[in-house]
């Protein structure tokens, strides 16, 4: 609502109304008849731009401008002086107090409108650049420095956060030798706010894990605790997040996960791709939500693909979102490629309406190697095992 609110300060009734009418077509306009009233309006809500007369009763434009310069939260509001005093002295005085523009009456209303547009555009641009910079910083901190690794496995990771994307999170920890915990999630919302929440939320998850992993190694139990944190802690009251917690034990080739409303992972192998179906409710919504652990064994040559909803929601040339069906299809054609993650993403983009992803894209591909496994077990007893899963080549 306050996105483009403009305050007009003008003592002359007719002109005030005219400006209100013309600017009101594009912006949310409020008015004041003098500096004092203007300060009250500003107290109610800080406008995005002020257009003010100079000569006014009670408190004139100069005094208003000076008062605004005194306060941190009003200092930077773009300010346009609008006055009949065309003389050079007041113009200079106007410049001195840090006024952004100075328009003399009689003025061309279209010219005023274009200056307002330009000024607002410039401040918005500045804000965007700042947001992008902070957002990038958060995004970097939210991503892992090191990938988990184990003999006979390869872990591929891709993350491309958008400047104004959402709050994707990824984390991998090794609480004890031979066991990894992988966290993939998405904090709901957009932009800097979501990134900030994602950042603090990841902190919560890590400390919860750290505290709990001494007593449990169940992703579902961790999930239950994280959900309670979101339900009980006031700072996180309005935060909702989908989360996929994966425990990976490479020596047993075992994956145990709990899924709280997150995009369902894909299991892919020589026989094709399938969705790993079980999941529970998203976090932060229901204090009584329960979570369940599900286990699966990674067979030689198969991979678990986890991702975030930016991929799922990519709009394809068909006009539809990629969806789970689309991911399965593209995963199948990427399987077996040297870099399956890049192949998958490239082929999705080839079929997309836009040539870029519309949102953050994050993917984690955990693959048990087919060849390494055979080597470690020695030659496969091909001659008496017609049911052996290895390929014959």
């Amino acid at each position: 609502m306050s996105q483009h609110s403009i305050l007009i300060v003008e003592d002359e009734h007719t002109l005030r109304r005219l400006l209100e009418y013309r600017l009101g077509k594009q912006y949310n306009v409020r008015t004041a008849a003098n500096g004092e009233e203007a300060l009250e309006r500003i107290k109610e809500e800080v406008p995005r731009l002020i257009i003010s007369d100079i000569m006014m009763p009670k408190m004139d434009g100069f005094a208003l401008q000076a008062a605004l310069q005194e306060m941190d939260h009003t200092k930077a509001i773009p300010f346009i002086f609008l006055t009949a005093k065309a003389d050079e002295a007041s113009r200079l005085k106007g410049r001195r107090t840090g006024v952004d523009d100075y328009i003399t009456k009689p003025f061309d209303i279209d010219q005023l409108l274009s200056r307002v547009d330009r000024l607002l555009e410039r401040t918005a641009q500045f804000q965007n650049q700042l947001d992008a910079k902070i957002g990038q910083d958060f995004s970097q901190k939210l991503m892992p420095k090191k990938m988990p690794s184990a003999p006979g496995y390869r872990a591929l990771f891709h993350s491309a956060p958008k400047e104004h994307g959402g709050g994707d999170i990824f984390d991998a920890t090794q609480p004890r030798p031979g066991t990894y915990f992988i966290t993939i999630g998405d904090v709901m919302g957009k932009g800097l706010q979501a990134k900030f929440y994602a950042f603090s939320f990841l902190g919560y998850i890590r400390s919860t894990m750290h505290a709990m992993l001494r007593n449990t190694s169940s992703p579902a139990e961790l999930m239950t605790r994280v959900n309670q944190v979101l339900m009980d802690d006031p700072p996180l009251e309005d935060t909702f997040a989908s989360l996929l917690l994966i425990r990976w034990e490479p020596e047993r080739n075992l994956i145990t996960y709990a899924n709280a409303g997150h995009c369902r992972p894909v299991l892919i192998g020589p026989r094709g791709a399938e969705i790993v179906p079980y999941s529970d409710m998203i976090l932060g919504l229901d204090a009584g939500a329960t979570f369940k652990d599900t286990s699966l064994v990674l067979q030689p040559g198969s991979a678990l693909i986890s991702y975030t909803d930016g991929l799922l929601e990519q709009v394809m040339k068909s006009g539809e979102q990629l969806g789970e069906e689309g991911i399965l299809q593209h995963a199948n054609s990427a399987y077996g490629k040297a870099d399956p993650v890049q192949s998958l993403l490239t082929s999705v983009l080839d079929d997309s309406v836009e040539s870029k992803f519309g949102d953050d894209v994050l993917m984690f591909w955990l693959e048990r190697e087919a060849s390494k496994d055979r080597q470690s077990r020695g030659p496969a007893p091909r001659w008496f095992s017609p049911f052996s899963e290895g390929t014959e080549s």
């Binding site: 609502m1 919302g189 009251e237 998203i282 919504l285 229901d286 969806g323």
Partner: protein, 117 residues
């Protein structure tokens, strides 16, 4: 008596129930408006919300978040948020997040009205 804000039509049905007709999209562009509109209803005593998704083609995570906020606000006051005439794109998001356990669904607004009465 109808109030329209952005893409939403809010229609009171009883002293504490309203139908909010969600337009073509509820996403990061208008989620704040939805939140503000719903907030105003809660302040004026409304506890039960029927969300009509007949026309809705887009529901993104920010939009869904604004519905979640509403749910968290009214559920401690024995309020309800129910979904009516859920379109396919909305159904996909609801399935993915497993929130059908929380938001009851009805085929039509009328069915929802009868159920929450």
């Amino acid at each position: 008596m109808q109030a329209t804000t952005m893409n939403f039509t809010i229609e009171p049905i009883t002293h504490d129930s309203v139908v909010i007709r969600i337009g073509k999209a509820l996403d990061f562009r208008n989620a704040a408006d939805f939140k503000a509109g719903a907030q105003e209803q809660v302040r004026s005593g409304v506890r039960n919300f029927i969300l009509d998704f007949t026309e809705t083609g887009i529901l993104d995570s920010t939009g869904l978040g604004s519905i979640f906020s509403l749910y968290r606000q009214v559920s401690p006051m024995s309020g309800q948020v129910v979904f009516a005439s859920v379109s396919r794109p909305v159904q996909v998001v609801v399935q993915l997040t497993r929130t059908y356990k929380v938001f009851r669904q009805f085929p039509t607004v009328e069915a929802a009205r009868d159920a929450i009465r």
